[in-house]
């Protein structure tokens, strides 16, 4: 596939700005998205994620800065960009009045397929997405999970080089969410670059190779998941003992070997210890934890279950912004503005 540019970047932006009246929805965003991976853009509601995606997909004109998609300027070479990207918005980007088949045939025709080819492709997509039974139903009668599927099916009709997924699982039940994740993995495995925006930290954790954290229109951190977590430091060791009576002894051992706080869980056999901040993402932590386990075994304490957990992206977000995602959301609510308003403006 001809997705590689000389720089190997699918998206490159410099100082991207979009203002709506007084609000600077996007306030100098720099992104460098390598081709061929899922790149996560993580941030709370109203952080400027959707506005950024709309500029990259040529739907909004930037007020400042530059953006290139596979080396093409999104303003001057909009048509080139449009030929290579596809967009799945927060709400279903399909025609609710039409059936699943009609939507896909319509789009196939608009992408240049002849009638028979468009029909065949529509049938294949519906089959692959498990929607054959609903093919003749109007999309307005689809469930949330089905809408997402038809929407993504429409987006990959022509195998785009870059797929924008704007909060693809917002409002979905956990089961449908997992199914969307599987689809995203299958799409990226075939060489399509995916730019995924999400306000769910576990979603970015599950899918993205690199993550940019965005808050109030600015990128406040960027890197691999490991780098982001390491920048916050500390993972934690969770232990379950066989005998509750051994817990005080285990607590003492852990405290001395790990040189860290030990937390007693409500479960009488469980305890958790923070492992000191390792420079290289928990590598030091693993070593320390191994030493602690050996020490416990030597003291005669039986450990039934053991796990070494990385810090959650929730903790990452809190450490980076000084407020958690929920605060940011509230602040936006008070300002009387959300992502959708920005877009409508």
């Amino acid at each position: 596939m001809s997705t590689q540019t000389t720089s190997g970047l699918a998206i490159e932006t410099a100082g991207l700005v979009k203002t709506f009246g007084e609000t600077r929805a996007v306030d100098g965003v720099d992104l460098a998205v390598p081709a061929g991976m899922v790149y996560g853009v993580l941030g709370p509601n109203g952080a400027g994620k959707t506005t950024t995606v709309k500029m990259l997909a040529t739907l909004l004109r930037p007020d400042g800065g530059e953006a290139h998609v596979f080396g093409h300027d999104v303003v001057r070479e909009a048509d080139e960009v449009r030929g290579r990207v596809s967009l799945t918005g927060q709400y279903a980007s399909v025609d609710e009045d039409l059936t699943g088949t009609e939507n896909l045939v319509l789009l196939g025709r608009l992408l240049g397929h002849g009638k028979p080819a468009a029909r065949q492709r529509a049938a294949q997509l519906l089959e692959a997405f498990g929607l054959t039974d609903a093919a003749g139903k109007q999309v307005k009668n689809y469930s949330g999970g089905m809408r997402r599927r038809i929407d993504i099916a429409a987006s990959i009709l022509n195998t785009p080089d870059l797929l924008f997924l704007d909060e693809p699982t917002t409002g979905l039940d956990p089961r449908s969410r997992n199914q969307v994740w599987d689809i995203v993995r299958a799409v990226v495995a075939q060489g399509t670059t995916v730019l995924l925006t999400t306000q769910y930290l576990d979603e970015a954790d599950q899918l993205a190779s690199r993550i940019a954290v965005i808050d109030r229109g600015k990128v406040i951190a960027e890197g691999t998941k490991g780098e982001l977590k390491a920048s916050v430091g500390a993972g934690s060791v969770h232990l379950r003992l066989r005998e509750a009576t051994q817990r005080p002894e285990a607590e003492r051992v852990l405290r001395t070997t790990l040189d860290a706080d030990v937390q007693l869980e409500s479960d009488p056999v469980a305890l958790t210890a923070r492992v000191g901040s390792g420079a290289a993402n928990g590598q030091g932590a693993a070593e320390k934890a191994a030493r602690a386990l050996a020490e416990l075994a030597r003291t005669g304490i039986t450990v039934d279950n053991f796990s070494l957990g990385q810090p959650s992206l929730d903790e990452v977000f809190l450490a980076l912004t000084g407020h958690d995602t929920h605060d940011a959301h509230d602040a936006r609510d008070h300002a009387g503005k959300d992502d959708k308003d920005e877009v409508a403006a």
Binding site: G112, G130, N141, T159, I183
Partner: protein
């Protein structure tokens, strides 16, 4: 509603990763569709919408029938001695009036549609930009044709006899549909410009009522005061209804046809680019 709950509760078939992968690999990209092909595809979309919601044909069936019957029997006796004689004069004009009035629904459908997610997809496609709007107008051209057929049928039942025969009637309707297609660019503009469906309706009425009534549709302009004649005689609707009336009567009013097509061309040239500018900035 029962269908919604039914699909909701039913277990969704799993996504097949292998067939998905095969589809993604096999996807070679065909060349972009031509402007014509993209516009026709959007026209097909408009027709599909009519298919799914046939009630929307109410305004091109019931409304025109009402117009014919109402004005024929209301004014017929007073203006032409009898409804039967009046319909001979009125029908081509009331046809023009009804169809031109129906054009305002284009603005309403653009306005309600444009906020939907699907427009983001259309606008991110590498296609001829105006094709989305042209598609609406092609779908509407079909509606104008339906309205014309309905009104001519009712007219003929109550006594209208076109001397121009089939050829005259078909040419007249064709001219009317072409004019309405061109004139509708005013409404695509307002549909994109105004914030709500209601304001689109309001503005449409403000434009359409004076434009269609201040014409030669109901009466000969000779009875009007001079200042009004000046307006009426130069109104595009007067030119159009004269052209349609004479075509259906079997004449070839070259001047009036030229005026009608000239106004149509002007409408596209002025409002087409404004519509596209608004569409690109939305």
């Amino acid at each position: 509603m029962s269908t919604a709950t039914q699909t909701e509760s039913k277990e969704l078939a799993p996504v097949s990763a292998e067939s998905l992968a095969a589809l993604l690999v096999s996807g070679e990209r065909p060349p972009r569709p031509s402007a014509w092909s993209a516009s026709m595809t959007f026209g097909w979309r408009a027709i599909l919408k009519i298919k799914h919601v046939p009630e929307q044909l109410f305004d091109v069936t019931a409304f025109p029938i009402m117009m014919v019957l109402m004005y024929t029997y209301l004014f017929g006796g007073a203006l032409a001695g009898s409804p039967k004689e009046y319909i001979q004069f009125l029908l081509p004009g009331i046809l023009v009036m009804s169809v031109v009035m129906i054009t305002m629904y284009t603005g309403v459908s653009v306005n309600t549609d444009i906020e939907k997610g699907v427009f983001d997809r259309f606008r991110s496609l590498p296609i001829w930009r105006p094709s989305t709007m042209v598609g609406y107008l092609l779908g509407d051209a079909l509606r104008y044709t339906i309205a014309s057929v309905v009104m001519l049928t009712v007219g003929m039942i109550i006594g209208y006899r076109p001397d121009g025969g089939v050829a005259g009637v078909v040419t007249g309707v064709a001219l009317l549909v072409v004019f309405s297609f061109a004139f509708s660019w005013v409404w695509t503009m307002f549909g994109l410009l105004l914030r709500s469906e209601k304001s689109v309706m309001g503005v449409s009425m403000m434009v359409l009522f004076p434009l269609t009534f201040l014409s030669n549709i109901f009466v000969d302009p000779k009875t009007m005061p001079g200042w009004l004649q000046a307006f009426v005689n130069n109104s595009p609707i007067t030119h159009l209804s004269s052209a349609v009336r004479e075509l259906m009567a079997g004449d070839w009013p070259a001047d009036e046809i030229a005026w009608s097509l000239g106004w149509a061309g002007l409408s596209v040239l002025v409002f087409g680019p404004i519509t596209m500018r608004l569409y690109n900035r939305k």
